[in-house]
């Protein structure tokens, strides 16, 4: 009898351990961007900024910008704004007119990664 109860207790401890519960977590989604998604700007921007819904881990987040030939045109220096940990930005090389594609990968402080892309146009 004691044996069976001990086994049941051991099983419950094991079961308890498998059941567990991290706090509900979410993903960082972009709120808005500058240059805005799909927009056309007349002067070439110096940087791309994306505001996200949550605080990010800049060490593992990145923004890459490509021209229509697929060449990288960003400075490779993705960082978070020191005053706003949910704002990610990257500097841009001087951009001639054309269509540019932004690919971003954001890792939220809750360790979930999201990614996506959008385009903007530098027009005359």
């Amino acid at each position: 009898m004691m044996r069976a109860r001990d086994l049941m207790l051991a099983g419950l401890i094991a079961g308890f351990s498998t059941g567990a519960s991290p706090a509900a977590i979410a993903h960082a989604f972009p709120d808005r961007a500058l240059p805005a998604v799909g927009s056309t700007v007349t002067t070439a921007p110096h940087q791309v900024e994306i505001w996200f819904s949550e605080k990010l881990e800049p060490a593992f987040s990145r923004i890459e910008v490509f021209d229509s030939a697929g060449k990288r045109v960003d400075g490779g220096d993705t960082r978070a704004d020191p005053q706003n940990e949910s704002l990610l930005l990257v500097s841009l090389k001087p951009l001639p007119p054309g269509i540019y594609k932004v690919h971003w990968r954001a890792v939220s402080v809750d360790t979930h990664a999201t990614e996506g892309d959008f385009t903007f146009t530098v027009g005359k």
Binding site: R5, M8, L9, A10, L12, I13, A14, G15, F16, S17, T18, G19, A20, S21, P22, A23, A24, I25, A26, H27, A28, F29, P30, D31, A33, V37, G38, S53, E54, K55, E57, P58, A59, F60, S68, E85, S86, I99, K101, R105, V107, S108, V109, D110, T111, A113, T114, E115, G116, D117, F118, T119
Partner: protein, 330 residues
Amino acid sequence: MDPPLIIVRALHFGAELSLLGFLVFPLLIATPVHARRREPLPLALRRRYCAGAWASFAVAALTLVPWLLLVALSISGAPWHDLTTAGILPTVLSSTQFGEVWLLRALFLAALVPCLIMIGRRRAVDFLGVALASMLVAATAWQGHAGAGTGFAGAVHLAADVAHLIAAGGWLGSLVPLAVLLGRSRHAEEHGHGIAAAGALAFSNLGVACVAILLVSGLVNSWFLIGGFVALFGTIYGRLLVVKLALVAAMLVIATVNRLALMPRLQLASLRGRMAAATLARNALIEAAIGLGVIAIAATLGTLAPPAHEPASIHDAALISPPGAPSHPY
């Protein structure tokens, strides 16, 4: 979804809840209940609580490093073999919130070893053990959604999450230790019925306080994560939450039966009293089993995006395209 990561997190966090329960219950309930009858905590009980605490600690310690490795993989998007060579682990540990909290966890677990070795010998050390275990449980708040919020609202969400976690640990973690107490009380020669009655009453009071905290903090959390009644029934996340609440309600029904029907009988120094103790112990274990379901659902919710943070408009959705799919043809 990432099954290995979910399983490791689930094991780790469940072990921490269990550890908290096996430390809190003897200190705050089992020992005082015996002390009021001028008895020390029986050796058989102490051994069981000690074994429960060590077993829980072992699971938590064994899952700690795998958890770090799996999160480092997911955060960096790098392949397995790059993990040790590309400086990813040091970056995770030094430059991410997850990594910093992980280091704290390792510290708390290490500090718990002397506490567990000396368990039951000095009150101050036992209280330190409870404090460390509570901080372990609370640390999860900083590694989830609540820890990613900003501003005053983020702080409120975080505080609610910490309260929710500790209260869950206090209530759920104490169910099995209560069953152990009730089981042993049936073998006690004298005062067994008094101990069962006092222990059950003390646990019941603790349970009421914890449930109150769980409900209030749960409401606050849901406000931040769901955002409204439409999402509650209109999304998978919301529906899972409803199931979780239903399970908690089932546990509360059992708890009510325990309090109103069974607990009064525990005072009887007769067969009827002993049978009530046995039934109560069984009910506590049933509640614990339902509690596993609650925790399993919470673990699943943890991998889904809460409705309040999903993109609401087509404009927002245009910002997010499936990885790998071209957004505009060139």
